[in-house]
Symmetry: C2
Subunit: 228 residues, 2 copies
């Protein structure tokens, strides 16, 4: 009984890692579609979203089955409940990757991202993917130092996000309103994606230590991500 139970718990953990890999990759591909104006790639990210949805529902069903059959208490119970929260975080990331891909499609064959913003968008995307890969590692290793290191990458994302607004508000902005709107939303998509990755890692920290690593609610600053 105990044996089967831990197998089920492990398989939920593996499902979360699979989902983290999936959404990290989706965000990378969506960004390529965006920066390379690749319509086919954009469409493939958009249609692949169903898979993340299925994975999430499957994880939720399995978590509920474990609760019903094994009736875990104490830490084990927290693990299962937390896995539900994490799968919701990851599903949200799949939606955000889809939003990026849809923007690539909307502007095709044009470019949503002007030349002087490409580097910023690319770096945000890379950091977001890296955070998600780190979150997957933390899910596997429970390495608290790795979780703490993520805060730095997250700070860098926030800095880039602020720099987008500074650039937009600059009198020298000459790309027009449509591009300003596109870039505003893109910045928000990457930043939210990164927040969810950090949130997954923080939940692991909480499970391991019983202490909230900082606060769990990652979003707060904004309007527009208040300068530090």
């Amino acid at each position: 009984m105990r044996e089967a139970y831990h197998e089920e718990l492990d398989s939920i953990g593996e499902g979360l890692v699979e989902m983290a890999n999936l959404v990290g990759s989706a965000m990378g591909r969506a960004t390529s579609a965006l920066l390379d104006t690749d319509l086919q790639l954009a469409e493939s990210v958009i249609s692949a979203h169903a898979k993340a949805d299925d994975l999430q529902r499957d994880l939720e069903d399995r978590a509920i089955a474990v609760l019903a059959r094994q009736q875990p208490v104490a830490t084990d119970l927290r693990v299962v409940v937390t896995s539900l929260r994490m799968s919701a975080d990851l599903e949200r990331c799949a939606v955000l990757a889809q939003h990026v891909a849809k923007l690539a499609r909307l502007r095709y064959p044009g470019q949503a991202v002007p030349q002087d913003m490409r580097r910023t968008i690319l770096e945000m995307s890379q950091l977001a993917q890296r955070l998600m890969a780190q979150a997957a590692d933390v899910l596997i290793t429970h390495d608290l130092d790795a979780a703490l290191q993520m805060e730095q990458d997250d700070d860098r994302i926030d800095e880039l996000h602020r720099s987008i607004f500074q650039h937009l508000m600059d009198d020298r902005w000459h790309h027009g309103v449509e591009t300003a709107v596109d870039v505003t939303l893109l910045g928000r998509y990457y930043e939210r994606f990164a927040d969810h990755a950090v949130s997954v890692a923080r939940r692991v920290v909480f499970l391991v230590t019983g202490e909230h690593a900082d606060e769990l609610a990652t979003d707060p600053p904004t309007a527009h991500t208040e300068t530090t």
Copy 2:
């Protein structure tokens, strides 16, 4: 035992309703602060956010306590698990109301919303609050018709959200980039708030009928909320 159990479940339900009322009211006050350039009101919404956070953590702890002590199965188990998801939806709404209030503060004593966008923002805010009030009702009454009616208000929010983009992309837009960025993010905040309210009601429908009312993932359209 059964008795105590249902009391605990009821009290979680009451907590969710309390939270729905709190965030609905926060969004209303944030919008007043925004449209009336009322700094004090904005500050009060920003600092009241801690209360929603506490409520959510308290609800989560109570849900976990019920799982541990009562070990519910079948429908009862789904109710508790779903309440965890709903409290996360509502906590997110508190953050979104806070974002609106922070924008009011950022632009103070200026106006973030230009005259010709006030009606749209006001209507989005009113619909968002109405949806949240309806979600609270559905939590209490389990009235499926009321839940279905919410889809109409949600469609109207989406329509208004699209109209914001149309207005922004219009050649006659003359409010500059800063205001375009502000209005873009505001539109997204209201739309996400409404999505979470609808999501709460859909989760109730799922609990009552066992069938997903449409899909639970409410966000998908965008880039920029694809025309119908």
